[in-house]
């Protein structure tokens, strides 16, 4: 059986809970794209430039985490057979604090403002305390922990580690004394966020989503059971070895070996996924599949770049290298996978809730739009094309910043703007059909 629990509509949160997150996520992407357009070459001066830090966090927190929080609140009852206690309050509070905290953090980086960083630390701390607490409680009650639930638990743990380190760093940026040591933990914060929170959740959801939505065969049971746990263990091992190597108590090659093994595990996942997609039951083109393919190519590129950087230190020392490496993982892998998920989940939820209401009210006279009417394929096709163009320009931008950086920012902003427009249209259509369903049928009004 696919779902461990008995699926019930009563268990699913109201549609406003996931929509709140999924509809705001593209707006943060637009902000990031506009920031790159405005700052242009100045943004790409290096990994530590305030512009890069603001851009990166608008994407990681504003777009990726926002979408992942919304999806998790929605998927928990379906994939884990459990639910989040007080999902509406948890959703509203997390969304408000996460959105405010992300903006405050970006402003803090750009304006070098201590008080903005402190505000970000408080807001984001609150957001993750509420979200991790609520999700942790829900996940602990999942009585049939399948590999996806196990991956979700590890991913939420990784989110907690990332958040604690990130809040420490924001407090350091905000001028709180005694936190200079936090700077040495920046790479650990980054690894737990990108590999732990994002990577583990993508793997766990893929185990369910690919066979279900792309009609692929199942991932091998051994891979499903052990890969996410192995990645989490490697992340933990790498963190300890990284700390010991930084203190010069062990050779630097040790943490590199742990990270290389994690890279190999990610490549294994990508290779299996491509193989399964080749064997899908219905080999027709699909926008969700295209985003997944882009994401897997991005993952392969990121791991290859990281390995190449270790093999040729001269290459890793190139100023463009950290931008390529981070860009290929974040914008080449994480964002495309999340984008592919968002274009499926928003129209599906709208359709499903409308269909349910239509049947409950017996309103066959009100037509429920299908998925393609809610989110037209031409919108998702154009969004993908513009995104790929933006990604290509961004790859060239570290080499030719004056030429490529502003067009890259513009293309990314346009792509996310189109995503926001498409998802917003679906939500508007949902509201208008829902209103029509709730209105009294013609001839049965109060005066009839």
């Amino acid at each position: 059986m696919l779902f461990p629990g008995n699926l019930s509509l009563d268990q699913a949160p109201p549609i406003s809970v996931p929509f709140r997150f999924l509809l705001s996520a593209p707006l943060f992407g637009v902000l990031a794209g506009l920031l790159l357009t405005l700052q242009g070459p100045a943004l790409l001066t290096g990994r530590w430039s305030p512009g890069v830090l603001a851009f990166t966090h608008l994407i990681t927190l504003g777009l990726v985490t926002q979408a992942m929080c919304g999806a998790l609140l929605q998927m928990l009852p379906v994939l884990a057979g459990t639910r989040v206690f007080g999902a509406v309050t948890v959703g509203r509070t997390t969304h408000l604090l996460l959105s405010g905290g992300t903006l405050a953090l970006a402003i803090g980086f750009l304006a070098d403002g201590g008080s903005w960083s402190l505000a970000a630390a408080v807001l984001l701390g609150g957001a993750f305390l509420v979200f991790v607490g609520a999700l942790g409680w829900g996940l602990s009650r999942a009585d049939n922990p399948n590999p996806t639930v196990a991956a979700m638990r590890l991913a939420v743990t990784a989110l907690a580690v990332t958040a604690i380190l990130g809040i420490g760093l924001a407090l350091f940026w905000g001028g709180v004394p005694g936190l200079l040591f936090m700077r040495s933990l920046t790479d650990v914060h980054l690894a737990w966020g990108l590999l732990g929170w994002v990577g583990l959740l993508v793997l766990g959801v893929a185990y369910q989503a690919l066979p279900m939505f792309q009609l692929t065969p199942e991932y091998p049971l051994r891979l499903r059971r052990h890969l996410t746990a192995a990645l989490f263990a490697l992340l933990l091992l790498w963190s300890v070895l990284h700390w010991l190597a930084a203190a010069e108590r062990i050779p630097p090659a040790w943490p590199v070996s742990a990270a290389a093994t994690a890279g190999a595990a990610l490549l294994l996942f990508a290779a299996f996924t491509v193989r399964l997609q080749k064997r899908r039951r219905r080999p027709l083109p699909d926008a969700g599949l295209a985003w997944w393919r882009l994401g897997l190519a991005g993952l392969g590129t990121a791991v290859t770049l990281w390995l190449a950087g270790r093999a040729w230190p001269g290459f890793a020392a190139h100023p463009a290298y950290p931008l390529w490496l981070g860009g290929s993982y974040l914008l080449g892998f994480a964002v495309p996978i999340l984008n592919g998920m968002m274009i499926k989940i928003v129209p599906f939820l709208a359709w499903f809730h409308l269909q349910n209401r239509q049947l409950a009210l017996g309103r066959a006279d009100v037509a429920v739009p299908n998925l393609r009417e809610l989110l037209p394929e031409r919108t998702t096709r154009w969004q993908l094309r513009i995104y790929v163009a933006g990604l290509g320009l961004l790859a060239l931008a570290p080499l030719w910043p004056a030429l490529a950086s502003r067009p890259a920012g513009l293309a990314l902003a346009a792509s996310w703007g189109l995503l926001g427009f498409g998802l917003g249209q679906a939500a508007r259509r949902y509201r208008s059909v829902n209103r029509a369903l709730l209105l009294a049928p013609a001839g049965e009004g109060p005066g009839a």
Binding site: M212, L215, R281, A364
Partner: protein, 81 residues
């Protein structure tokens, strides 16, 4: 209906589209790639009952009939109600 090669939620759309045509004494027999757990609450809302056969060699088979339709239940293969 063989819906086993359709991507979600097309099988669900097709099943719901066929429901008005299910007459008393009839049942709808569909073959699917996965158990249609999302369909169950909607079938209940629409006033239908179902039996799901997960052990077949041709994937998942679902039999759907109008709630209270004894004729349809009697017409179904043995052990399906």
């Amino acid at each position: 209906m063989d819906l086993s090669e359709l991507m979600p939620p097309e099988p669900l759309e097709r099943i719901l589209g066929e429901l008005p045509g299910v007459r008393p004494g009839d049942f709808l027999h569909v073959r699917l790639h996965r158990e249609p757990l999302l369909a169950y609450p909607l079938l209940e809302q629409a006033g239908f009952r179902w039996h799901t056969d997960t052990g077949g060699t041709h994937g998942i088979e679902v039999y759907i009939w109008r709630d209270g339709d004894r004729l349809a239940e009697d017409a179904m293969p043995a052990g399906r109600t």
